[in-house]
Each structure stands twice: as structure tokens, then as C-alpha cells.
């Protein structure tokens, strides 16, 4: 028998706040700063945002009820993407994956801010994003599994920035999701302070609990509690492919060599892995590798990590969100008794914190759109201008990891050319990660270990190891001409031809202009 609202809300005096989603509409005013729970898209509020969207649609209020949305990361398309299509969003921080949202962001209709995830929650708490309104949020909408006897909130499938949002919001609406089992016990909530009162984050082992299983909550701020039975609109399962597999093989070989050289212990170091097919393949590769007792210290737990735990190779996972597909969640709940002792969720201020990433010596692995011959990487802007999703946590990890690795295919198809888009370019048209941060670059062609190399040596190594054969001559020629033109400057660049490949793609549909 499923739990009832009475079971889940253990603080009896809050039962008087039970209401309907429609009844919550009264709390929303045009121009408000809203905080939502949720992260990649799990644990976000559903019935209230949907009810408000219905209300706006029915009453033709498009453009007349607009909000600034602050959410840990992306949430389900049925909520914020629908809001975007109803012109209900003015500002949106710091990461998103919505189709309609993307369109509005890239046509100047929604103002997006793109921030490191560890810093987003921190700066939100510092009041930096809402400084003209006293640094507060007007209203939080939080999906929860339960509420404790004292009125503290027990979150659901993600933490993200929810703890900080609850802290700085003037009013809180809670959606208790009784359609899902309770996630109670999976969270470790550590609250940070504002300087000069910030404390040490005392994690020296990924398995260490340092906080509470609930979010400390001022229950007098709660104005409504509604029931939800809607599931998360989880990420679709992403398969792997030959290219991803080859990248994974290169990485596993590299790990073996590093262990042999004594630069990594036999069980490696805590692994961070981004999202997508390459991350899946890497984790898959580790599942069948000789490495044992592996620890994961990452943002999101994806489907492939379930196999990784099942294989016995992975001992423990830290994350801030269970970013599972619907099929993944089925497996999760079936084996919950096993997984619950192997997984801990932390706030994104902690899961992505430089302090912890450096101390634990994480291995950061993320997929950029492209990188250049000097190891500057573009993770966010197609063609240097069009926002994809946001930098997410990639900067937190790439800057601070023991080994900072980025991986992508050496080449992708454009509409008219199977090799139309090179992953290795002369100069990145947008820089999210600089040459000062990246240690290792990987494509299916090979792995470039850049540690200890000066820019020109780095460029030769990247072209040699990572570029697709069809682009090698162009890249080498570009580099040679840049060296000649500058007389051997530290980092030779042809400013006048910096973006020739990108302009060719834009104008002629392929970067391979010599192939016309």
C-alpha cells in the first residue's frame, strides 16, 4: 500500500496546509524570483508548475506572468519547457536542456545565466542574482518525499540547490510525491554559511556523512503542501557506439599506464563523469576493467552506474542527483536495499566543491563540443554563439581534478558531410575551459597527455593524437603558418583565420572547405 500524505507529512500541524495545485496559483505574481527543486531532471516540482501553466494558457496570460527561475540544473520539459513556450520565463539560471527554452534563449527572449554549478548555489545564497530585490527568493516550489516531525524537508531524487533555495526563500510550496517511494536516508545535507562565517567542509572520504538527512527548514515559511503522483520525466537511456567505445578504451589504457607509473593507486581516484554516451562507455569500460574498489564522486548517477555497482567494481557513489531513465528507476527501486548503502546524495555546493574535488583528487571527465590545438575547450556555445545547455559542473571538475580530462569524437557529421565538423579546431570560438586547466584530451583517434608540455608541443601532440585524419593537414599547416607569422611566439595564432573552419561550416555546410 502506498503511503498517504498523512504518513509522509509527519509534522501534524502542517496538515492544515494541505491543498490543491490550483489553490497555489494565488501565490504567484508577475516578476517574482522563484526557486525550484530539481536537477537533471529529477526531483523537480510538477503539479504546481503544470497547474500554473494551465492557468496562464486558459486565461491568455502569456507574457503577463513572467518569472525569474533559479533551479540547480535542468528539470522536466513538461514544466519549464512548457513555461518557456507560454512566455512565462524572463531569467533562467544556471543550466537547462529544454527545446523551447533553448529556442527562447537563442532568440533573445529568455535571459539565461551560465554559471559553475558549485558557484551558482553559493552566489544565489549570497544574494548576487537577486540583489535588486534584497537577495531573496520570493517563493520556492520543492518536491519532497516527506516532512519530519519538526517540519524539516526530506527531498526526493535530487538535492542540487534545493537546500539553499529553501534557506533563502520567503515562502515555500511543497509537493509531496506519494507516487514514488521515499528517498529518506539517501541525502546528506550540509549547509554552508556566508563569509566570514563559512566552515570547513570536512569530507576526507566520499563515504563520510557530514550533515543531516533532511533540509533544516523554517516551517513557518511553508504556505501550501500539495500531493503529487507524477513521475520524473527521466533522461532517455543513451546507448554507446563504436566511437564512444574507442574513447573509453583509450581512457582505460591511460589509467593502466598511470597505475603502472605510480601516479594513480590501483583503485584509481574518485571518478567524476559527465553525461552522455561517452560517459556511459567509460563507465562500461571500467565495469569490465581490472580496477576494483572504485569510488565515484560526481554530479549525476546515470543508468550505467547501476551496472557498475552490480558488477562489484564500484564500491561507492557520491552525487547530487539520481539522473536515471524510467527503466533505470525501475531497477533502482527493485534493488533499493543494495543501492541505498552504496549511494549518497549531497548538495551541489558540496558535490561540486573545489575544496573536496582537490582534496579527494578526483579524476574529471567531461565532453566538450570541441577543443582547440592549445587545449582551450568549448562546452557551451555552438559556433561560439548559440547556447546548448550550460557549463554545468564541468568547470568545477576540470579546474580542480587530480587529472582533468575532456573527451569528444574527433569528427561529427554536418548536414551534408559525414566529416563536416571537426572536434579539434585551431581556435575555440568560445572558451569555457582554458589551457591552464586541461591535462588530457581524448578522441577515438587517441589520447593526448598534455602535462608538462608548452603550447606548441601541446598543439603537435593534440593534432597527432586526437585530430581526425582528414583535418590533420589543415591543422598542421595552420600551426606552421602561425609559428612563421609570429616568429615563434609562445602561443602562435592566426587571428585573421582563427575561425575559418567555423565560418566555412556556417556558410557552406562543412568545415572541410578543401573538399568542395
Amino acid at each position: 500500500m502506498a503511503d498517504t500524505m498523512q504518513d509522509r507529512v509527519r509534522c501534524k500541524e502542517l496538515h492544515k496546509l494541505f491543498t490543491t495545485p490550483e489553490n497555489c496559483i494565488q501565490y504567484f505574481k508577475d516578476g517574482m524570483n522563484l526557486g525550484w527543486s530539481g536537477f537533471t531532471p529529477v526531483g523537480y516540482p510538477k503539479v504546481v508548475p503544470i497547474a500554473l501553466a494551465d492557468y496562464v494558457e486558459k486565461n491568455n496570460l502569456q507574457g503577463k506572468m513572467k518569472f525569474n527561475l533559479f533551479i540547480g540544473a535542468s528539470v522536466g520539459a513538461e514544466t519549464e519547457d512548457r513555461w518557456a513556450s507560454l512566455n512565462m520565463i524572463d531569467r533562467r539560471w544556471p543550466y537547462q536542456t529544454g527545446k523551447e527554452l533553448g529556442k527562447a534563449i537563442n532568440s533573445g527572449k529568455i535571459r539565461m545565466g551560465d554559471k559553475h554549478l558549485s558557484m551558482f548555489a553559493q552566489d544565489l545564497k549570497y544574494g548576487f542574482y537577486t540583489k535588486d530585490q534584497g537577495g531573496r527568493l520570493d517563493l520556492a516550489i520543492i518536491e519532497a518525499s516527506a516532512i519530519t516531525e519538526d517540519g524539516n524537508i526530506i527531498l526526493s531524487g535530487s538535492i542540487g540547490a534545493s537546500n539553499d533555495i529553501i534557506d533563502i526563500a520567503d515562502k515555500i510550496i511543497i509537493e509531496i510525491n506519494t507516487g514514488l517511494p521515499s528517498f529518506e536516508g539517501m541525502h546528506d545535507i550540509f549547509m554552508t554559511d556566508v563569509p566570514p562565517y563559512r566552515k570547513i567542509i570536512p569530507i576526507t572520504d566520499a563515504r563520510q556523512r557530514i550533515g543531516t538527512p533532511w533540509v533544516p527548514t523554517d516551517k513557518s515559511k511553508i504556505v501550501a503542501i500539495v500531493e503529487s503522483k507524477l513521475p520524473d520525466n527521466g533522461r532517455a537511456l543513451r546507448g554507446t557506439d563504436d566511437v564512444a567505445q574507442a574513447i573509453a578504451d583509450n581512457i582505460v589504457d591511460f589509467f593502466s599506464a598511470e597505475v603502472k607509473a605510480g601516479r594513480l593507486p590501483k583503485n584509481l581516484l574518485p571518478l567524476q563523469s559527465g553525461v552522455g554516451s561517452i560517459a556511459n562507455a567509460v563507465v562500461g569500460g571500467l565495469t569490465t576493467s581490472p580496477f576494483e574498489n572504485l569510488i565515484v564522486f560526481t554530479e549525476v548517477l546515470q543508468d550505467t552506474f547501476l551496472d557498475f555497482m552490480d558488477s562489484g567494481k564500484c564500491k561507492y557513489i557520491n552525487c547530487t542527483s539520481l539522473s536515471l531513465s524510467n527503466e533505470g528507476f525501475e531497477i533502482w527501486w527493485k534493488n533499493f536495499d543494495k543501492y541505498k548503502d552504496m549511494v549518497l546524495m549531497r548538495p551541489q555546493q558540496v558535490s561540486n566543491n573545489p575544496e573536496i574535488i582537490r582534496r579527494l583528487g578526483a579524476i574529471g571527465m567531461n565532453t566538450p563540443l570541441e577543443f582547440d590545438i592549445y587545449a582551450h575547450a568549448n562546452s557551451t556555445h555552438a559556433g561560439g554563439t548559440k547556447m546548448l545547455n550550460g557549463i554545468g559542473g564541468s568547470g568545477d571538475f576540470e579546474r580542480n581534478s587530480y587529472i582533468s580530462m575532456m573527451h569528444c569524437p574527433s569528427v561529427r557529421p554536418s548536414k551534408t558531410d559525414e566529416f563536416g565538423i571537426s572536434g579539434v579546431v585551431p581556435k575555440a570560438p568560445h572558451v569555457d575551459h582554458t589551457e591552464h586547466d586541461i591535462d588530457v584530451l581524448v578522441t577515438e583517434q587517441g589520447l593526448a597527455d598534455l602535462r608538462g608540455l608548452c603550447p606548441v608541443d601541446r598543439a603537435r601532440c593534440i593534432i597527432d593524437k586526437c585530430a581526425h585524419p582528414t583535418y590533420k593537414d589543415y591543422l598542421t599547416d595552420w600551426l606552421d603558418r602561425a609559428i612563421k607569422k609570429t616568429g615563434g611566439h609562445h602561443e602562435p595564432v592566426l587571428l585573421e583565420e582563427a575561425y575559418k573552419l567555423h565560418l566555412e561550416l556556417e556558410q557552406n555546410g562543412t568545415m572541410r572547405f578543401w573538399n568542395k
Copy 2:
């Protein structure tokens, strides 16, 4: 009476290692990895590097004795710059200011690596820069004030990476500088470990001692001890000017407004300040400001900080180096009894550590060469290609500070045009600091508070507040055309005209092409 070598080297059994600089030449072999003490240029070895340079010169060994040099930051021109002119350097990490060194780096003769200073020392210790030689340094040359009874090294006017260099070097040559008073007691040496054994860095207050006043030293590695009486070739005193003063005024006004808004405490938060005339002016501005009990948490203590302490406004300074001029050092030693209780030197792994910078909530203030309308900043490469000095610690602080600020003049003269070089450009030709990191940009024209702004709003704000009047129309027109061309993408850019200003400067001597 000055101290003798016998006084300073308190470990008697090491007295047998006393020798001459010339006798140390035997320890140097072509191709070696060397670590030196020293930082911006204080506390570096002098008599041994000079003796080796003399030897190379006398015996025509130019190009036949080449070394890889790993030093915390820059050191005196009479040592490494002379080495550069004698073709004695192959690789040089991670920051330098030498004229001959710069020439060699920008003509492909010396291979330089440019790394965040907090990370340089860490990665050096991890063995990443010398991984093909087992991750060790062959030889360290360390300037010291003294050696303890147990053989532990007491450094001189800087720490930098010396503690880590001493740790990983196979052999150590020590120069005891008896020409200067001893710096004993000024250092707080905290040694970090290699993951998974790294510890918490337990600083919650800048005044807190967490280490030892000496560097833990395996004395069996010491092969020679020589006497030096040479002074540091200190930074020349840099004055301030009207532009720097106007920038400082803008910053002090901003601090006042932040205190009023409740986002900064009355004594602000620990201040980090880069080097140069703007930094001088900012500190000068604070000296006459209403703020009291100020704390400095920075890399280098410059002359201007002496006045700051004298004024009673500054309560305490953390740094990794006393980067004083010769005149500054005179004042320092005259008032040493006062200053010694107000200043603490830490290793650059600690002084620049993200963990501490975030925890204390430092205010980072650094001078880039230029920044663009979206708040990407270029700190290192003139014209995008020619290395100046290196990123230094600017990335450590700009990424992690409570408020990340960068400041530079809105315009500088080129050879032929007093307004030939704009500090605000459409697109930075080299990105050291990304839009994800910068909160506030300042020129003498004004201050742009970018917190909470999307890219296009940021661009309007930067052009409005920071650009020089002569460049405003061009920048606005560029932005408008970029918005039009992309249909309002998230971060509109004209790739084909990204570097028009820089190319005009290169080809015609001024960025103001419309003024021809």
C-alpha cells in the same frame, strides 16, 4: 654584528658541507630538472646560479648545459634572465618576468608552461611535469635564512613552491643569505599530500598558524651549503597615476555600496590584490577609506602594504612573498618588530588555494591586459600570441573569490595613437578567465557589476560603464550587428570580425581604424 654561517646553520653536522659556489658546479648536468626557491623576485638563489652562468660563459658552453627550471614564480634578472641569454634554459614553469627570457619564450627557444600558481606546486609534487623522469627534480637550489638543529630549512623572503621543491628534489644546494637578517618565524609551512592522502587545510581565519616555521627537510639530501650576501633584486617602486586613482575610487565606492546593501561586512572580506600601479592605488584608497580592521589574503606583499599596515587600517596580511623594492625592504627591517606580528607567509599551495579562498570569501582584484564585452579576460598573451608573464595566481583568485573583480585602463597608447589600444574589446584574443568567473569589471570610466546579468545585458553594461568614449560606438555597433546576424543568440559574436581591432593594431598601429 652580522650572523656568521656557524650561527645560521644550527645543525653542526652540516657544517662539513660548507663550500664555495664554484664547487657546486659539479652537481649540474645538461638536461637536469632543477627547482629553485624564489617568488616575484625575492628569496631566490643567487651565488650558485651566477657561478654556473660564469662557468658556462667562460667555457663557451652556451646551449650545451640546458636545464628545465621549476620555480614558484619570477626570480631576479641577474640569475634566470642571464641563464636565458646564455641559452641555459629549455623548459620554464610557471611564471616569469625576464626580458631575455620573454624574448626566448616568444621566439620558440624556451618552452614555457603557464599554470595557476596553486596548481603548479601541486602538480609538480604529483610528478606531472617531470613524469618522463620519474616525477622527481634532480636538484634544488634554495636560498635560506637558516637551518635548524635538526637540519630543517628556514626560508628567506618568500615561500612559493620551495617547500614542495625541497620535498621532491633528489639533492639540495642551500645558499644561506647572511647579508640579510633572518626571516625565521615569518613562515607557516603546511605540507600537502598526494591523493588519496590529502588533508583538510584547516584555515578559517587568516591569522591562523597550521604548520611549522621551517620546511621539513631530509637533511641527507643536502649536498652543499654556500654563503650568499647578495640582496634580492627587488621590484622597482611603482607609482600611481590618475587612471589608477580613478579605478581605485570606483572600487572603494563599490565597497561602500556593498557594505550598505549588507553584502559585505564593515571590515570587508580578506583582500587579494595583484601587482602594479592599480593595485597600489586601490590599497592607497583603502588606507584613506572609512573601512577598518582589514585583512589581506594575497600572494605578494608590496611596498604599498607597508603604508597600509602603518595606517592602522590593515590588521593582518597573509602572503607567500615579500615582494618589496629595495626601499621597501629598508622600511621593512627598520620596523620589523611591528610587521612581524602582522604578516604571515604561506606556501603558494596554501596562499592561493581554492579551498581557503572560497572559505574565507576573499575579494579578488587583478589586472588583465584586456577584457571583452562578455567578460572574458586576457591576462597573458598580447595580441593573443605573445606571452607576457603568465597567469600567476589571478585564476586561483578570480575563480574562487566572493567577489571576483578585474580592473584595467579603458584605453592605452599605441606607438602612434594615444588611444590606440582599447582595454575593452569585442572578443578577447586569448581567454584566461571566462565569463563564468568574473563578477565585476572596472576601468577609470566606471564599474560594471555583472552579477545576475545575461551575456547581452552584460555587454551593454560593460560598454556603458567601462569602455573609453572613443570605442563605445564601435563596440555597440559590433554588438548590435552580432545580435542581428545571429537572430539574438545567447552570446552574439561576429566570428568574421572577432579580432578586427587587434588586426588593425597589428597592421596599422592603432585599433581606431575609423580615425585614420
